[in-house]
Amino acid sequence: MNLIVNGNETNVDGELTVNELLTEQNVKMPEMVSVELNGQILRRSEFESTKLNEGDAVEFLYFMGGGHASERATD
């Protein structure tokens, strides 16, 4: 299935939920990420149940402070 993740075309195997995509994309601290799916911000409680479809545009938006004091969610 082809998705657009943070603006990049990304191919993933099989069906995925948002939670599974977060894992697949190596997001280590999903609590530090907001997810936008096709222009709408998802509720955190929907990460588990929301299945992704071919062509979906997904954006991971990260909490960012002022330069230190919070570790970013991925490497």
Binding site: G7, E31, M32, E36, G39, R43, M64, G65, G67, R72
Partner: protein, 271 residues
């Protein structure tokens, strides 16, 4: 008030811009911008807005200049170590442009004091370094209906959004609330490329000036992200979130309160 000859000379590079002109410069001179956080982001914003002749600039910061600040907070000099950041910043801004009034607030912004400070300002720049302050500024600007620029920087990346409260997507439309307790196991120092603060803080000043002059398009309903390593800017389109706890359809936040610091104690942190 008509511009003096000296002002016409000082601001000549603005005045010759068709979109600014003498009228625009007069508008800037009678405008008021509040900068919360006189650190990495606030430094370039304060310097450029003072140079531009924004008539009144407020600075809110409870900290004093520390050696670790000097790598990126270019408004503070080595000779300012130990000096209150608001005083240090005011000195540089007035050295650049003595006709700018700089109001200083040597306090930590809280729900109690912020609502007394921001009314009367035309635009607010969030140059703070921690999430409770960022939510506080978002909420205070919502209740007081004052447009503001939010920004964050980390390592080699930065982000920016301008919010016109009740009209365009707010910080809580994207980030509902601070991350849950325990989300971040350690309060490790992630670091930041110094110049990143200059890039993003300058963009915040740009947004303030565009708003004051009513020119161009603001970064509203979009999060601008910047990656210094790839030198890529992206605009992630956003909509107002009907679920937003502040500006959504069923708001849970109906009065200004301090967001609890759930990540780690940032009391000792420097901007």
């Amino acid at each position: 008030m008509p511009l003096s000859e000296q002002q016409i000379e000082r601001y000549s590079r603005h005045i010759i811009l068709e979109q600014v002109g003498g009228a625009g410069q007069e508008k800037l001179l009678s405008s008021k911008v509040l900068i919360v956080g006189a650190g990495g982001l606030g430094a370039p914003a304060g310097l450029y807005l003072a140079a531009a002749g924004v008539g009144t600039i407020g600075l809110v910061d409870a900290d004093s200049v520390d050696l670790t600040n000097l790598q990126r907070q270019i408004i503070h000099h080595t000779s300012d170590l130990g000096v209150e950041k608001v005083a240090s910043a005011r000195n540089k801004m007035q050295a650049i442009n003595p006709e700018v009034t700089v109001e200083t607030y040597h306090i930590k912004a809280t729900a109690d004091n912020i609502r007394k400070i921001i009314p009367g300002y035309d635009f607010v720049i969030d140059g703070t370094d921690n999430f409770p302050a960022k939510f506080l500024i978002n909420d205070a600007c919502f209740f007081e209906r004052i447009p503001f620029s939010h920004a964050g920087i980390l390592r080699f990346e930065g982000q920016l959004i301008t919010v016109l409260p009740r009209e365009t997507a707010c910080y809580r439309c994207i980030f509902h609330s601070a991350p849950p307790a325990g989300a971040v196991p350690t309060c490790s120092q992630a670091g930041v490329l110094g110049v990143l603060a200059g890039v993003i803080g300058s963009l915040q000043a740009t947004e303030a000036m565009k708003y004051l002059l009513d020119i161009g398009d603001l970064v509203t309903n979009a999060l601008l992200t910047y990656n210094a390593l790839t030198l890529e800017f992206r605009k992630v389109r956003l909509n107002r979130n009907p679920d937003c706890p502040l500006c959504g359809e069923n708001p849970q936040i109906t009065e200004l309160t301090d967001e609890e610091q759930t990540i780690c104690d940032l009391n000792d942190s420097k901007h």
